[in-house]
Symmetry: C2
Subunit: 368 residues, 2 copies
């Protein structure tokens, strides 16, 4: 039983630790100068989601592509006006060092390839945006951070929700005291995994199952919504190993987070159903988001129930991705640390490792 009188103190300290997270950085724009991104990986996210977003950016542009599929790369390059000389594959990738158009490399590859391409990009003298989850292990995350630091380059993790208007507004409500003293955080995140051959279901490529892929939204939200870092976890996993989708990675995992102030976080991720919900309960009301972290259509209610729906003010970009892409560009132009730097990704992976360990050992794991 924890005395929570220390809460204000600890929350303040927690805020300091994660002060940068889900803040709205005041960064000077540099009109006329757009930084150039190379997109590594023309899969569903890189090609389908990120590349179309440059038209919404103020400080970022698409200048290069890296793909193992030359025909696809050529087609995409033509569509988006990328010169053929700025198409690379995984063998000649390191030649990007000689391409002055490329300021930033955005790693949109299966998780197992994040560390290698982040480190190679830094060695080539480029800044790096790396998709979440940051890597398959905290050791890899540490190596990525060290490589970027050694190269003097920025490293940012693709936590798009830190630039999503509903999430930003929810954090402002939480910090404002609108719901009183925060007591409880809950989030479920899941979707129905389809093709058993998808890379996300192959442990060697994904590093894990629903927790790594979608549960990380619940975990990251627990941290940015509370403004605190968890001190212990407990987890239970249930997976039907006879389901061909789940031979290698977990389906469902439920994990509890203990926060220093006494806030309890309860999170669940799954690959067997769609669920996307964030709830904060304070002693004066609640902040409710359902869906909370989708690409679009997110909804936010603040009060005792769902009678008071909030339309948030615009986020920092035209879209959450434009905000994210431009944030790294502005950080580079202004020499500031990104609000979701490599250390943010490392923190999540360390907690994820503890969650998996807790589920394996069926016991509470204290976090260092």
């Amino acid at each position: 039983m924890m005395n929570i009188n220390r809460r204000n103190l600890v929350l303040a300290a927690g805020s300091a630790i994660t002060a940068s997270a889900v803040g709205l950085p005041v960064l000077a724009a540099t009109p006329g100068r757009k930084l150039g991104y190379a997109i590594v990986g023309l899969g569903g996210y890189g090609l389908g989601i990120i590349i179309p977003q440059f038209k919404n950016c103020q400080h970022s542009k698409l200048v290069a592509l890296v793909s193992g599929d030359p025909a696809k790369a050529k087609r995409v390059a033509a569509e988006y006006g990328v010169p053929e000389r700025s198409i690379y594959d995984y063998k000649n990738f390191d030649a990007i060092k000689d391409n002055p158009d490329i300021d930033i490399v955005y790693v949109c590859l299966p998780v197992s390839m994040h560390a290698e391409y982040t480190i190679r990009a830094a060695a080539a003298g480029k800044h790096v945006m790396c998709e979440k989850p940051m890597a398959v292990s905290s050791a890899e995350c540490e190596a990525m951070i060290a490589a970027c630091k050694k190269a003097g380059k920025k490293l940012m993790i693709g936590y798009r929700c830190h630039f999503e208007a509903h999430n930003l507004e929810a954090v402002r409500f939480a910090r404002s005291g609108a719901i009183g003293k925060l007591r409880y955080f809950r989030s479920e995140h899941g979707f129905t995994a389809g093709n058993p051959n998808a890379w996300r279901l192959k442990k060697a490529m994904s590093g894990g199952g629903s927790l790594m892929d979608i549960g990380i939204y619940a975990l990251n939200a627990a941290r940015y919504m509370t403004g605190e870092e968890p001190i212990a976890v407990y987890a239970k996993e249930t997976t039907d190993r006879n389901d061909p989708r789940f031979r290698e990675v977990e389906d469902m995992i439920e994990f509890q987070l203990e926060f220093p102030s006494g806030v309890i976080g309860s999170c669940m991720s799954m690959y067997s159903a769609n669920q996307n919900h964030i709830l904060l309960v304070g002693d004066k009301g609640r902040i409710d988001m359902e869906p909370g972290t989708r690409y679009d259509g997110n909804k936010l209610w603040v009060g005792q129930d769902r009678s008071n729906q909030i339309t948030p003010p615009p986020g920092p970009g035209l879209t959450q991705w434009a905000g994210q892409l431009d944030h790294l560009s502005l950080c580079i132009l202004n020499n500031k640390e990104p609000i979701v730097a490599g250390e943010e990704g490392l923190r999540d992976i360390r907690i994820i490792e503890a969650v998996y360990r807790s589920a394996r050992e069926q016991k509470r794991i204290a976090l260092a």
Copy 2:
């Protein structure tokens, strides 16, 4: 990691174990014969909620009152047509044995008095309805069951939700396969405790805090919604012991339930905010209730989100309380066991004891 191929098998077995719970018993009515209830305790629930319900009953009537406040008892008796000879206090309570109008004693007292008055009622040859939670310990529950068995009298626990239309319909949806294979159950139940001197905040009278009082709704729902019995629990408690309301009992407790089929249950109870939600997630959809177990105004949605609101068919009584009161009368008239007999109350208390132990010891507790 649990192989859940056994699920169908185990769910069927689980259903057998709790087959009676939240069923609609087919019990023959006996027109013209209403069984007589003595209400013990004229507090908020007995006087404010139960006594006004007899007008909605078909097989039950109010015939006697037991109170430590003679003036109040006299006033209530006059209002509800109870003869003065059928007013008792806690000293002459045992004289009910000589009152043939009384068939059933309904114990609406602080939890610490449940065992004593259940056992004395049975000894006086009366059937017993006892409010939830059944008692302050499983040992007391066992003594209550034994006393009623010895006396050849029925014992039912006041689980009103087993007679509430939305809950009954939700269970039917869950059993029908409408949401596919059930994977996850969640429920939060809480309200803002006010007066620090209320009996529910005194451990000697309540036996515990929010878990005993309101969290038991989440726990009981986890059992009747899944149709399974949990095999292990893990819990975390957070209480501000400097809050004058929480000097003796817990404020918030979050507990995870493991079910044999692999379903994970995640429950929370609190005394520091209002929350009343039940969610079942299956691999084909979800059953969502918010509020789920209120006196009125419960809402039910079935599907992928809240677009499909369900208006349930009527429950077994005009109200959940009428259904509950008449169920025991009909069980007595037909010599059937109530669907929420003493054993149902004992099961919850045993799990609650394990939840408290888990929170104290910070470890997973396997249930026998």
